[in-house]
């Protein structure tokens, strides 16, 4: 087990991502942040808070659950549906930033794009992730990355957040040999 991001690293990465998003989008006026439950939702709230401090205004922030759009439902035990909470502003014509903890195969994001399509038609969709561990199976790429963590497939990346896990850290560990 190896800690690859400390609490401080995470905080710094989120601050940087927040700045990058604002810069790319020329401010926050047309932005909507949507976190992918569970951890992405908390990251989105943190990014929104950082941005609010920078911009001096609240940023519309919500959650987008992708469960109903997953293509691997039949392969796993039943999962419960997490809340999808779209801010009052809606997403029509907005610059939507999807926020998740780890970018891996890209299938989650594909599902998220489908789920987003049910909600409305944004002007642009961008992707921000805390960790990009590679091994993409779909032509998907993140616009904002906290840290690139090249990893092998028999390793697993575990993101802990204070809101859920009691502390902030990202660890990389070797999977049990099976």
């Amino acid at each position: 087990m190896n800690v690859v991001l400390s609490a401080e690293d995470i905080s710094r990465a989120l601050t940087r991502i927040s700045h990058e998003i604002l810069e790319r989008n020329h401010g926050s006026s047309n932005l909507v942040l949507l976190g992918i439950p569970t951890r992405g939702a908390h990251l989105a709230l943190r990014v929104a808070e950082i941005m609010a401090n920078i911009e001096g205004t609240t940023i519309p922030c919500g959650t987008l659950d992708i469960t109903l759009h997953r293509d691997d439902l039949r392969l796993r035990p039943p999962r419960s549906i997490m809340p999808t909470l779209i801010p009052q502003s809606g997403i029509e014509g907005k610059d939507v930033v999807l926020i998740d903890d780890v970018l891996f195969s890209g299938r989650t994001i594909r599902s998220a794009l489908d789920a987003l399509g049910e909600v409305g038609r944004p002007k642009t969709v961008q992707l921000a992730v805390l960790v990009d561990r590679g091994h993409r199976e779909l032509p998907i790429k993140a616009d904002f990355v906290g840290k690139n963590l090249p990893s092998s497939l028999d390793q697993s990346i575990r993101v802990s957040l204070t809101e859920i896990d009691g502390r902030d850290e990202v660890v990389i560990e070797n999977r049990r040999q099976s």
């Binding site: 469960t67 109903l68 439902l73 419960s80 549906i81 809340p83 049910e118």
Partner: protein, 315 residues
């Protein structure tokens, strides 16, 4: 959960899980009822050995909104009505590759028979079996009550619901008593003594013969359909007398608390158990029960079908 046969088989977590799933589904849909890809490639068979267009349409809409393939096997012209055995029908469904069978049947226990035997491997959803249970109706009723009077989540602790009418022959009443009690609500059954089963003292509810003494205290009143033929079976003297004591009319409605809901699983006998003014009044949530029915049945299909089959471990 592999099947939905009876509320008796459920625990609080199962019940709240379905209600919460339905809450999320209703939020996503938000009235637009767009199609979701969730059950693409799954086959749901509606096996209706007893006529019930309402329930069948509701399950059909639910399955289709989740992109499942739906096959309707309805009473008229189906092999069941021609005396084909339940076993043969089940084996046909197995051969078709049904992932779930939604069964409505006039025999109590038919759904359980289908699930207990090794005739087919799919999930069995009881859409009403004889005078036994109608679990999806109870779930949609609980969902409707929770939405209006509950915290919108969690259980129904602190609420008091009256169920009025032909309890003896009502699968809706059986399922509702069990589910509402499971969710912590207080239930009072109101009926003439002839329409209450022997052995009801063991149910998790109270019983009253006097509608007027119960009405002022309840948060929701659920009216049950009374069939005309009960009269010839000596359960009550005539429709007028039934109505006088157990019908909900505008005069009676006045004694209800202001926020109380009026419910009915349909189809209604306007003028018998419920008057037209009451059914169409502002506090009636009867049409909303119908739309909630689709959402709750989506949740049921999701919970039973979306994951890997229960006998296959996660990978």
């Amino acid at each position: 959960m592999k099947h939905l046969l009876s509320i008796e088989d459920m625990n609080v977590q199962d019940a709240i899980g379905i209600l919460d799933t339905a809450t999320e589904l209703s939020r996503i849909n938000d009235g637009q009822m767009k199609k979701l890809p969730t059950l693409r490639g799954r086959t749901v068979v509606n096996l209706f050995a007893e006529d019930s267009t309402r329930t069948r349409i509701s399950f059909e809409a639910a399955a289709k909104r989740l992109s499942a393939d739906v096959i309707n096997f309805s009473a008229k012209g189906s092999s069941i009505s021609k005396g084909e055995s339940l076993k043969d029908t089940a084996m046909t469904l197995q051969a078709i590759g049904a992932d779930a069978v939604v069964i409505r049947h006039s025999a109590s226990g038919a759904a359980q028979r289908l699930a207990d035997n090794q005739w087919m491997s799919g999930a069995v959803i009881n859409a009403g079996d004889g005078t036994h249970e109608h679990p999806s109706q109870a779930l949609l009723d609980a969902f409707t009550i929770r939405k209006h009077l509950g915290k919108g989540s969690g259980d129904l602790q602190g609420l008091h619901v009256a169920i009025v009418g032909d309890i003896l022959h009502s699968r809706v009443a059986r399922s509702n008593v069990l589910l509402l009690a499971l969710l912590g609500a207080k239930v009072t059954l109101v009926a003439p003594p002839t329409l209450l089963p022997i052995g009801i003292d063991k149910w998790p509810c109270t019983v009253s013969y006097d509608f007027d003494s119960v009405l002022p205290y309840v948060d929701a009143v659920m009216m049950l359909r009374v069939q005309q033929e009960r009269m010839t079976e000596l359960f009550f003297p005539n429709a007028r007398e039934y109505s006088r004591y157990y019908g909900l009319n505008s005069e009676r409605m006045k004694s209800l608390k202001p926020a109380s809901l009026i419910m009915h699983p349909g189809p209604m006998n306007r003028g018998l158990e419920i008057s037209a003014e009451v059914a169409d009044s502002a506090r009636s949530v009867i049409t909303e029960q119908v739309s909630n029915g689709v959402t709750v049945r989506m949740a049921i299909l999701y919970v039973l079908l979306a994951g890997a089959p229960l006998d296959v471990g996660s990978i």
